[in-house]
Symmetry: C5
Subunit: 278 residues, 5 copies
Amino acid sequence: MKDISDSPITRNGNSLILAYDHGTEHGPVDFQPMPKSADPKHVFEVAQHSAVTAIALQKGNAEYYRQWQKKYDEDVIEYGDTPLLVKLNGNSNLAKRDDYYSPKQCTVKYAVEELGAEAVGYTMYAGSLHEDEMWKEFREVQEQAREYDVPVVLWSYPRGKGIEENPDYRGQKDPEVVAYGARLGLELGADMVKCKYPGEKEDWQKLEENVGGLKTVMSGGSKRSDKTFLRDVSDTIDAGGNGLAVGRNIFQREDPNELLDSLEKVIFEQASPEDALK
Amino acid sequence: MKDISDSPITRNGNSLILAYDHGTEHGPVDFQPMPKSADPKHVFEVAQHSAVTAIALQKGNAEYYRQWQKKYDEDVIEYGDTPLLVKLNGNSNLAKRDDYYSPKQCTVKYAVEELGAEAVGYTMYAGSLHEDEMWKEFREVQEQAREYDVPVVLWSYPRGKGIEENPDYRGQKDPEVVAYGARLGLELGADMVKCKYPGEKEDWQKLEENVGGLKTVMSGGSKRSDKTFLRDVSDTIDAGGNGLAVGRNIFQREDPNELLDSLEKVIFEQASPEDALK
Amino acid sequence: MKDISDSPITRNGNSLILAYDHGTEHGPVDFQPMPKSADPKHVFEVAQHSAVTAIALQKGNAEYYRQWQKKYDEDVIEYGDTPLLVKLNGNSNLAKRDDYYSPKQCTVKYAVEELGAEAVGYTMYAGSLHEDEMWKEFREVQEQAREYDVPVVLWSYPRGKGIEENPDYRGQKDPEVVAYGARLGLELGADMVKCKYPGEKEDWQKLEENVGGLKTVMSGGSKRSDKTFLRDVSDTIDAGGNGLAVGRNIFQREDPNELLDSLEKVIFEQASPEDALK
Amino acid sequence: MKDISDSPITRNGNSLILAYDHGTEHGPVDFQPMPKSADPKHVFEVAQHSAVTAIALQKGNAEYYRQWQKKYDEDVIEYGDTPLLVKLNGNSNLAKRDDYYSPKQCTVKYAVEELGAEAVGYTMYAGSLHEDEMWKEFREVQEQAREYDVPVVLWSYPRGKGIEENPDYRGQKDPEVVAYGARLGLELGADMVKCKYPGEKEDWQKLEENVGGLKTVMSGGSKRSDKTFLRDVSDTIDAGGNGLAVGRNIFQREDPNELLDSLEKVIFEQASPEDALK
Amino acid sequence: MKDISDSPITRNGNSLILAYDHGTEHGPVDFQPMPKSADPKHVFEVAQHSAVTAIALQKGNAEYYRQWQKKYDEDVIEYGDTPLLVKLNGNSNLAKRDDYYSPKQCTVKYAVEELGAEAVGYTMYAGSLHEDEMWKEFREVQEQAREYDVPVVLWSYPRGKGIEENPDYRGQKDPEVVAYGARLGLELGADMVKCKYPGEKEDWQKLEENVGGLKTVMSGGSKRSDKTFLRDVSDTIDAGGNGLAVGRNIFQREDPNELLDSLEKVIFEQASPEDALK
């Protein structure tokens, strides 16, 4: 079992993951604000920014990414070498479900042996009626990831009837709920856990106290001003977090490079948001 | 992983798939308008037209096709060499279901090792209560197809309660829904996706923008005049599509050769529908 | 994949299958009209009539049959060599079910390797709420039967809520339904399909037009006069069918030999029912 | 496949099985009438009576029995060599179920390879909503038992909604129901079937006519006078049965040896109950 | 099969298990009374007290424990060598369930081969609607533990609808229910069973009469005065029990060493609670 700090998906112990699984999760609607983002090649290029330590893709786009990398190389433009994190499960929002669930659509074996994944990811909806089923699937994923010695990132998003119908919880962003989700990352054997930003820096500090040093990244979440966004990222880092996983906030921009420059400073160079924006 | 453009089921990058799974899906009723179409041998012969790049069959007819090919050859009439696409799942409409589902009735292993399939196909009903189950089955199918290096075609037909009960969607032919279905072909790792024609050329263009260059074929759909039908096919090609999968529109005709001649011109030679009909 | 015409369960391309699975399906009540029929050894002896090309048994009786054959041989009476068809699934009518289903109680491996089965059989209730589950089981059965190169007979009995609640169908004996069931035998890769006799010769002819030359046998059904019964069998043969699977109509008789003589003439020598009864 | 008559669990073709699975099925309450029966070692000793041809235990007690045997031997008292029948499934009555079911808690492999079981047993509740699931489990058990060449005893207890809600049946002890259960032992490939005593000798005779020579043992049932009990056992033997499986009627006695002496005479020496009691 | 008395998790036949799975079962809320307990390293250190014969951890913390042990050693403070018991299943209380269930999140193979577990543990909720499913999972766990020759501890906690809705039982702490749960430990093949303390010494004596010498430990339960707590532990030992599994009662203290000293005397040196407190 390799230390995740030795994995190419971290740099100086931190990570910036560019997630591009929106075609699965939400469909074409997510690309409408920036139509060129519908083309995976465009996002592959964005992911080559030096700030990005991993691109997170579903199986089909992961296959495409590997082909694109070969082609990119042949064209002698520049080698696109951002590490690949294969997201192993996902779901569409076409379906109607009794509660949240995300079926596995790629095995660890395929991700590593055929796609050469440098990391794998799995979404868990603790709190859902399907929580137990997802624990069992994650058990298999985690143990196979250990076999192949690739780090496993848990998208830990507690939600569903167990949260909604429990008066003790104030929904998905309740700091208690977010921290419990993060702790599950530790308990279940993940190498990194991705959590919703609960809203305040002290909430993330609380969360950090409960994960025994496990790597944590905040989820990009809804669109905000660059300043607010960088502030949240900076607060996460300050509170002991290890970075960011982000999608729409990047690929829905005409030119995401500027924001990526700033994020790089905040995440890897401990710059303040103000300095990073300069 | 072979490029599908090198597969015998495409020619110049495009495909015309003759689908003959109606005995499974609808039963004898589909053959009544042209009784000789109930006899697989008749359809096998139709499939030898040079326009056809693959015949799509369920397991039992696939076994029969291979026997027929041997016999055909022995009789020294002419070798029937149209490639075989084995459709791996299917369902009858005898059953009552809570929502759309199509059980797997042939493994990739059997299709390739025993039947020598040049490609495999799988129907997915995203939007159904059984969507998640079908994703898991498709995962297995896709990864096994990669092992055997045969292309996998996804019949991507979003339908079911998730579509019907969602006021944001206007049913199965809603261009949004069709495009989402096509995108899933890319995300889940298919080599070609078969979609319902949503009605207008610009809808197919929209769809193409969301599939990252994945091969697409339109589904033959209900019966129309030859001119309208060829126009739709031509529009699909113009919009960036790669051809057609068709069944009843061909085998319910007394003599399908004329239409196949026209389709060949439209699909492989970029003829206009008017020129193709001449 | 061997041609079923080369299998010992057919003679001149036709078959007479003596089915003795009633102890499973209905229990002791089926033996009451002829108590000696409760003793498997009695029925094993009946099955040695030269008309019978296969005896269809559930696993336990199949084990018993093999022991009996050895003993029979040792006693130097005469070697009982009627081929064994192991029925792989079955159900009791003690259970209460939401819809028709028949669980597998013998693997193909056990049937062939341990019991030396010359053929295997599987009952499918298309139209039931459990149709999809049965398709999946049959897929496995069919592919394993191919591995062992033994023919697989599909008891194709469409029934259940999908038939009963569909106003387009007039029940299990609706010729449309019976023909669809037969077609599924072809589509799913059976070597022979066993169907309910729908009532009229032209119905069977219709059925034959839809099975692409697949072997078909009629199911013995309820008790009738010998003349009517032989007429139905003869009509089946005339219409292109390949014989009969029969149980109670034989073993509930004091002396079934006379009727077996007549059936032999009708099925294997194309005698008219009148000539056969002489 | 060995003849069960050559198995150590029969003597002269008959059996007396001492069942001690009550700690699983009913819990400590069954030991209260005779507290020392809560101690497995006490019952192990009882089982060494020469009348007992097998002791039936759940997995944990089977492990304990093997340890006890070794110890017993070392203590040079006398070698406890009564054969071990491992009961493979069982259930507690702590649970609430929609209908009868008994989960498997020991594999055949473990029973034979690790525990050296001389036979295995499985309880089937035909008539339950879970009948089909149990048939599938039994299929696996039976085929594995054949692989290891150990006899398999079917506890065939038809019960559940299919019996209770069917006006044709008069409950679990309806001779029709009991006989159907016994017949299933034959059909499904058991080597011995254990049935409830339906109440009258002629009922057991009826049952015997339906099992084709399969070994049968009556279930001990509720407590009766010794005379009545021996009469029932004797009637079972007279009617063609092969013995008895008994639990509480033995281990709830202060000194079960006298009754065991009598049972030995009735079961293995064809003594009348009157002579056996002397 | 090794005798558990030869296992490092017992000393002189008794055990004190420090359980630290609360981050899984209850989340961060359990650490709030003593915030440093949220840090696994703190609890790992507590577990090095000589009284502790095993630390029980979920998979992720077990991985962390092994890393910590290595580091601890390198730092030459002192080798932390308390044996590791990997708890194989667990559940969060974020989820909403129809009845109690605890999904498996670690295989025996992973626990032993990768984590070097000296023992494994499994929670069973007999009485739940999911009891049967848990029996099947435990069967697999138990047999795999035998393969690896590590002892298996059953957390036997009868609860759920079968208990609540049965008027014969007075809830989870009904001595009848607790004793039945303990007996299941014997029947199902555990090496040690962990039970709720039913309240009185004579209840535990009753329990001991039903387990055939199986090792038993009482569950720490809710917080009490040290004197009452030690009295309960002492009574358990006197009644034939083998120790204690405890979590919050230890790690929620500022300094747990004093209580651990006392427990050591009571459990391993048969001290009275009064003497132990001195």
